[in-house]
């Protein structure tokens, strides 16, 4: 966990309102695990005030990558940064996905909707390293909403795409695609990240097929480090159902612990 006040933005790639940043931050890159996130400062002034949480899209000894969608003012300002600019980042934060020895040699499904694909690329790469076989189901609204297909293609990771409008791959929701694939073959594990309704549907699919699943949750975050209690989600604890801090105990939780709104 480091504060990197002066991380150099090495490369910016963009597709419409989707952006990929390659950032020089060696300490962070070496520590990062898939599913963890960083808190990025978007402005020097008091507006926007808070940092923005972004998942770690990839990491290596030289730094980290982010993949984000412009959702509002903060990500809008961020998207205007140019290669060579400096970023102020805290991370890696939170607890990531579980890469368990039990799935070694087996196939697992990674389901990402929209910007939710961000952490799954890193996860897929690490799963491959650990000897697990990732199969990525990558959904978006339309063809231009799923620009990472090339990247998965090149990295040799098995994947299928879906688009709501049928402009590329399976025509329909990624959860429908997942249902079809689950009916074909039962994976050892499901990992997912995306909008709440998508993950909720996937959670019941996973339960139905009796497949363990992990979900990366989102929330507005005040601090990202467990101090403000702003990022809570209803999570089953030992004792009951409490408001649990996503930034600290998550953002990844096993499906059976999450109470969907």
């Amino acid at each position: 966990m480091t504060i990197e006040r002066n991380a150099r933005l090495r490369e910016v790639q963009s597709w419409g309102d989707l952006f990929r940043f390659t950032i020089e931050a060696p300490a962070m890159g070496q520590e990062a695990r898939p599913g963890q996130f960083v808190m990025v400062k978007v402005s020097d002034g008091a507006f926007p005030l808070l940092r923005r949480p972004l998942g770690i899209h990839d990491a290596n000894a030289g730094g980290i990558e982010l993949f984000f969608k412009v959702a509002g003012q903060g990500t809008g300002i961020l998207s205007q940064k140019k290669s060579g600019d400096r970023l102020d980042i805290i991370g890696p934060l939170g607890k990531g996905f579980t890469i368990s020895a039990a799935t070694k040699g087996k196939k697992v499904y990674l389901v990402g909707g929209g910007r939710g694909i961000a952490p799954l690329y890193f996860l897929a790469r690490e799963l491959v390293k650990a000897g697990t076989r990732p199969f990525v189901l990558y959904g978006g609204r339309c063809r231009t909403d799923i620009p990472l297909r090339d990247r998965f293609e090149k990295s040799g990771i098995e994947f299928l795409c879906s688009t709501d409008d049928g402009s590329f791959g399976f025509a329909g929701l990624v959860t429908e695609l997942a249902a079809i694939e689950l009916a074909k073959a039962k994976p050892a594990m499901i990992y997912a990240c995306g909008p709440d309704p998508m993950m909720k549907a996937l959670a019941s699919l996973a339960a139905k097929h009796d497949v363990p699943a992990e979900f990366s949750l989102e929330s507005i975050m005040g601090c990202g480090i467990g101090a403000c209690w702003g990022c809570v989600h209803r999570i089953r604890n030992g004792k009951g159902n409490g408001w649990v801090k996503i930034c600290e105990e998550g953002p990844v939780f096993p499906g059976e612990r999450i109470l969907w709104p």
Partner: protein, 310 residues
């Protein structure tokens, strides 16, 4: 002797408590303190005010609990917390070992709960004092909060002061017509200091859904947006009270902190800034030191209350 970073005296004296420097962390914005260990040296701080503590564990409000506004943050955490027993068992032992004064922000759903918290904590060592969060809605009295009128403030402060062996700081709400009147009530009831301000009652609306952006509808506004109002209130209160004033509200930099001191605060608390920069409070200590150096101020306490209004 030339004033250098090394010789500058940053200590301030609250009477009941000496601080190595005037920078404390504000309750609810610094967790239980330990969350910040990876980011700064807790021993650099003047003091740590921990998250508001009820006797019992509290659930807090449904999310969304936070919303950003122009230069501000509205929170409706609802004082979620572990309760005093878990605090003493799990948190206090570690906090005690830091060597920085620990102040506990005390909450209660009614006077009895406030009293129960301080009575329980009084049996523990390693606490420098209590900060009485009089802004908690009173469950017995139709949700009315003592912070909004002088008499309930007086009654609560008097009772807690009598119930406890430790110094008492009363933390005031800014949502009042005359904060001086409330501060005076606290002073008459025997408080050792006052701290101000807590957050401003506020709301935000999502136009698309026509719903409040906070699960709890209303929340408390903090951050740079409120600083000019907080500074005015600190100036008003410090000009009228005998007991020391701890100032806060939108402090993001050493300059902000020094302005509160000039306005009459004997110490300051750093709140929302710690969310943006977890090491903000320590950075502010450094910035104060550098300012003193650059301006030949040998002891920071010499600038307290030095605002020239004529």
């Amino acid at each position: 002797m030339a004033v250098t970073a090394k010789t500058i005296d940053l200590s301030v004296d609250l009477g009941f408590l000496g601080l190595r420097n005037p920078v404390l962390t504000a309750s609810g914005t610094f967790g239980y303190g330990l969350e910040f260990e990876p980011y700064l040296d807790l021993e650099k701080l003047g003091g740590i005010v921990v998250k508001g503590l009820f006797y019992k564990p509290r659930e807090g409000n449904p999310p969304p609990r936070l919303v950003e506004t122009a230069s501000g943050l509205i929170n409706a955490i609802g004082l979620q917390g572990v309760g005093v027993e878990a605090f003493v068992a799990k948190v206090l032992p570690k906090l005690r070992s830091i060597g920085t004064p620990i102040i506990v922000n005390v909450c209660g759903a009614d006077e009895d709960e406030y009293a129960a918290v301080v009575e329980y904590l009084d049996k523990q060592e390693g606490i420098a004092g209590y900060e009485l969060n009089i802004s908690c809605p009173n469950v017995k009295k139709e949700g009315l909060c003592p912070a909004l009128s002088p008499q309930p403030t007086f009654d609560l402060v008097k009772r807690i002061k009598a119930a406890s062996r430790r110094p008492l700081i009363t933390k005031l709400s800014p949502n009042v017509t005359s904060i001086v009147e409330i501060a005076q009530a606290a002073e008459e009831a025997g408080t050792d200091a006052v701290a101000l301000v807590n957050t401003f009652l506020a709301m935000a609306i999502d136009l698309e859904t026509r719903r409040p952006k906070l699960g709890n509808v209303y929340g408390g506004l903090s951050g740079p947006a409120i600083k000019p109002i907080a500074l005015r209130m600190v100036h008003q209160v410090a000009s009228r009270l005998e007991v020391p004033v701890i100032g806060m509200g939108g402090i993001m930099t050493g300059t902000d902190a020094l302005e509160f001191l000039v306005a009459g605060a004997s110490a300051v608390e750093v709140g929302t800034a710690s969310f943006v920069d977890p090491d903000a409070a320590a950075r502010i200590v450094d910035e104060i030191r550098r300012w003193c150096e650059a301006h030949g101020v040998a002891a920071v306490r010499d600038i307290i209350g030095t605002l020239k209004t004529t």
